[in-house]
């Protein structure tokens, strides 16, 4: 639906209804105008109604619960900001914050760079292009649970395929799950595997909106493919890169399924919490320990953190590519 004022008809739009210029307008006209004014609101209303019910209300409710001691199966008890004091003096919270950050960087940065490279390659004319493009999206279509389960087997210590391959080249078996960086690396690989194709397709779509004229002009000026990539493709993709960076950052801050299943369904993230993300920490508070008030506190702090991260991210990405 496009909205147009009767005074300035847009070419191609319906012409104003007959009689609209006369001083006495018929009821039909007024009804039509009322509809034109209100229709957009009616059409967007369902989203906002659903958002209020399933987005805003839980958000406010969570904030309210975070001010209480609320054990699963008992009454709520007012605490004020005590849960927040508990959270900010808890070393486990800082640990999970740090792990969320390191796993986030380990997974997001390679993921976006690989995606960019793949998209650049797929942008060339090549045989079986559609096949490769569809293949890219396949990992994204598999469920997190299935992917994490398979990777947890691959990274098994005693009978895992990865350790077997390492053994072939003479490297000792690695205890992926119990090691600090090895566990984070394994989880990052699951995330990279699942999301790289998705991001590559987004980049590909962005690349196809860049005018071919620019490449031709660059080629005439003697720019190599790499120079074309740097000076034409990258600047042209700026909004797309910003978008994927923001989405990936949000995804990384909410990382949950992969480390949970990698850890055998336990939210403690290893003996030293070496892969306990904020999501796992929250789940552990709520569902292992039954402290819903504390879980709600973690949820709210995570929410605020994501907002800050997105703002910082946007600022950085804007500055990087002037």
């Amino acid at each position: 639906m496009s909205i147009s004022t009767p005074a300035r008809p847009v070419p191609g739009e319906r012409t104003p209804p007959p009689g609209s210029g006369t001083p006495r307008r018929s009821w039909r006209t007024r009804l039509f105008q009322a509809e034109e004014r209100t229709a957009p609101y009616v059409y967007v209303a369902p989203f906002f109604l659903l958002f209020a019910a399933f987005g805003l209300f839980p958000l406010v409710q969570t904030a309210w619960i975070s001010l209480h001691s609320y054990k699963l199966g008992s009454e709520m008890k007012w605490l004020g900001l005590e849960n927040y004091v508990w959270l900010f003096s808890n070393p486990d919270f800082y640990n999970s914050l740090w792990k969320t950050f390191t796993i986030g960087v380990l997974s997001t940065v390679p993921q976006l760079m690989i995606a960019l490279g793949l998209a650049h390659l797929l942008n060339y004319r090549m045989r079986g292009r559609t096949f490769f493009r569809v293949a890219m999206i396949m990992p994204y279509a598999t469920s997190v649970a299935a992917a994490a389960l398979v990777f947890a087997q691959l990274f098994g210590r005693d009978a895992g395929a990865v350790n077997w391959l390492l053994g072939v080249v003479g490297v000792d078996a690695v205890d992926w799950r119990n090691g600090d960086w090895t566990a984070q690396l394994a989880i990052s690989i699951i995330v990279i595997w699942r999301w790289t194709g998705y991001n590559a397709l987004i980049y590909l779509a962005g690349m196809q909106s860049i005018s071919q004229d620019l490449y031709e002009a660059a080629a005439l000026d003697g720019a190599s493919r790499w120079q074309q990539f740097r000076h034409v493709t990258l600047p042209g993709l700026r909004p797309t890169i910003l978008f994927t960076a923001v989405v990936s950052t949000i995804g990384a801050s909410q990382l949950f399924g992969e480390p949970l299943i990698f850890g055998g369904g336990q939210p403690d993230g290893g003996a030293l919490g070496q892969y306990q993300t904020l999501g796992l920490f929250m789940y552990q508070q709520g569902w292992t320990y039954g402290s819903l008030g504390r879980a709600a506190t973690v949820a709210w702090v995570t929410f605020l953190l994501i907002i800050v991260l997105v703002l910082v991210n946007t600022a950085i990405t804007r500055r990087r590519q002037p």
Binding site: P46, L50, L72, G73, S74, N90, D92, A152, Q153, G156, R157, D158, A159, D175, R177, N178, G179, D180, G263, G264, G265, Q266, D268, A271, L272, G286, W287, T288, Y289, G290, S291
Partner: protein, 440 residues
């Protein structure tokens, strides 16, 4: 990506959108309305009982529900099970709190019973006033008191208990030159120190890639499960940090982990633990009776005859696990549900369940019936006698509401010792700080 233009008339599209929206809203309302209460007595005189359990109780597998339905016309049983108790319990708690969605019969793990008795007595039915009242006196001495409130209300009937033995791979022990017969092995193990010493002997001659036991956490848990006082004293005060038995068990297990006697596989969590029963990455494991069925399942037919069972070192008694069946107070079929749980937990049924799943009877009558049971899969081990002895020698454990939190903190700390090389004293301190951070 189709290139044909869309020819759908505009009005149709709008109507479709409206229909979709209506359907979405209706679906949402429907979802909100669902998740209602458990079974209800229908008008035609039939009763629908819902049963919700975790893990393997053995009832469905044995066909006990079908048999009960056949013997009791007019009763239909709907059964569901969650594999992990750690997921089952929180879900049950939210349903209990919201007052809807609970089944007529719910399983309660023994680690939760103290919490139920202390904090949620009003959410469960007192079985003294139901047809199940007659079954309350059938149990080993500590089973019912643990499910009884200070006012005397009995909130659950016991299904099974967890007396312990040592399960071991006779083929691996033979390869390392250790005794393989239960009696001969038992003679070499008169204490936990002997068990560890035997482990050092095993490790010196063991097949490559095989450790003496599965995990330091499991070892620790076996030791504390033979104690009377563990994390709480008789008055209900937390003593986990001052009880010398807990510290001693922790240090013994940590030392075994440091010495490389463990396979560093976290129980029930690490997929390698499950695989280890078949592949032989560990030779022994302290096994409660309910783990008998688990080992069979993981090792499969190929494992038959390789595994055997002997008594705990020195013939010690203990209890690790076990469960209860309770009826939530919101159930609309208390009478019928009570009849069913009395039937399910009767000595005869417990004996049947033990024979098929390994869950050891908690009634004295049931224990008598299985006293002579042997298990062909375990080389004909006299499991009835081994677990009966362990039951007879077991102390009356004092349970507390936060036992589970403390236990998992200890197990996690021990994993950090064996797998990450953390010093035992540091691991102990971090376990204590986890507990104090969580239990307040």
């Amino acid at each position: 990506m189709t290139t044909t233009p869309r020819t759908t008339p505009r009005t149709t599209r709008v109507r479709t959108a409206r229909t979709t929206l209506a359907a979405a809203v209706a679906g949402t309302l429907l979802l909100a309305a669902c998740g209602g209460g458990g079974g209800a007595a229908a008008d035609d005189g039939t009763t629908e009982l819902t049963v919700s359990l975790f893990g393997t109780f053995g009832y469905e597998e044995l066909g006990l529900f079908d048999r009960y339905e056949a013997e009791h016309p007019g009763v239909t049983i709907t059964y569901e099970s969650t594999q992990g108790e750690d997921k089952y319990w929180p879900a049950l708690q939210t349903r209990l709190a919201s007052g809807s969605g609970v089944a007529d019969i719910q399983g309660i793990e023994v680690a939760r019973i103290a919490d139920v008795v202390a904090n949620q007595a009003e959410l469960w039915t007192d079985l003294r006033n139901t047809p199940a009242a007659g079954s309350i006196g059938n149990y080993v001495e500590w089973k019912e008191p643990a499910a009884t409130t200070p006012d005397g209300a009995v909130l659950g009937l016991g299904t099974d208990i967890g007396p312990m033995g040592i399960c071991y791979r006779s083929d691996l022990l033979a390869q390392a030159g250790l005794p393989t017969e239960p009696a001969a092995l038992s003679a070499r193990m008169t204490s936990w120190e002997d068990y560890v010493a035997l482990g050092r002997e095993y490790q010196a001659a063991a097949p490559a890639g095989s450790a003496w036991m599965d995990s330091a956490g499991g070892f620790y848990n076996a030791i504390v499960s033979t104690e009377q006082t563990i994390y709480y004293d008789q008055a209900g005060t937390l003593v986990h940090d001052s009880n010398p038995a807990v510290r001693a068990a922790f240090d013994t297990a940590a030392a075994a982990g440091q010495a490389g006697l463990t396979a560093r596989l976290e129980q029930f969590v690490d997929p390698g633990w499950d695989a280890g029963f078949a592949s032989g990455s560990f030779a022994t494991i302290a096994c409660p009776s309910w783990m008998i069925g688990y080992i069979k399942g993981k090792a499969g037919d190929a494992g038959s005859g390789l595994w055997n069972v002997t008594t705990l070192p020195g013939g010690a008694g203990g209890n690790w696990g076990g469960a209860y069946l309770g009826i939530p107070a919101s159930s609309e079929n208390v009478e019928e549900a009570a009849e069913l749980i009395a039937w399910l937990t009767a000595p005869e049924r417990q004996a049947e369940v033990f024979a098929s799943a390994g869950n050891f009877p908690s009634t004295t009558g049931g224990i008598e019936m299985v006293a002579d049971a042997t298990d062909p899969w375990f080389n004909g081990a006299p499991i009835g006698q081994i677990f009966s002895t362990s039951t007879a020698n077991a102390p009356v454990q004092i349970l507390g509401p936060e036992d589970g939190v403390i236990k998992s903190a200890m197990v996690e700390a021990l994993l950090s010792v064996e797998a990450n090389g953390v010093a035992p004293a540091d691991a102990w301190n971090s376990a204590l700080s986890t507990v104090s951070n969580q239990v307040s």
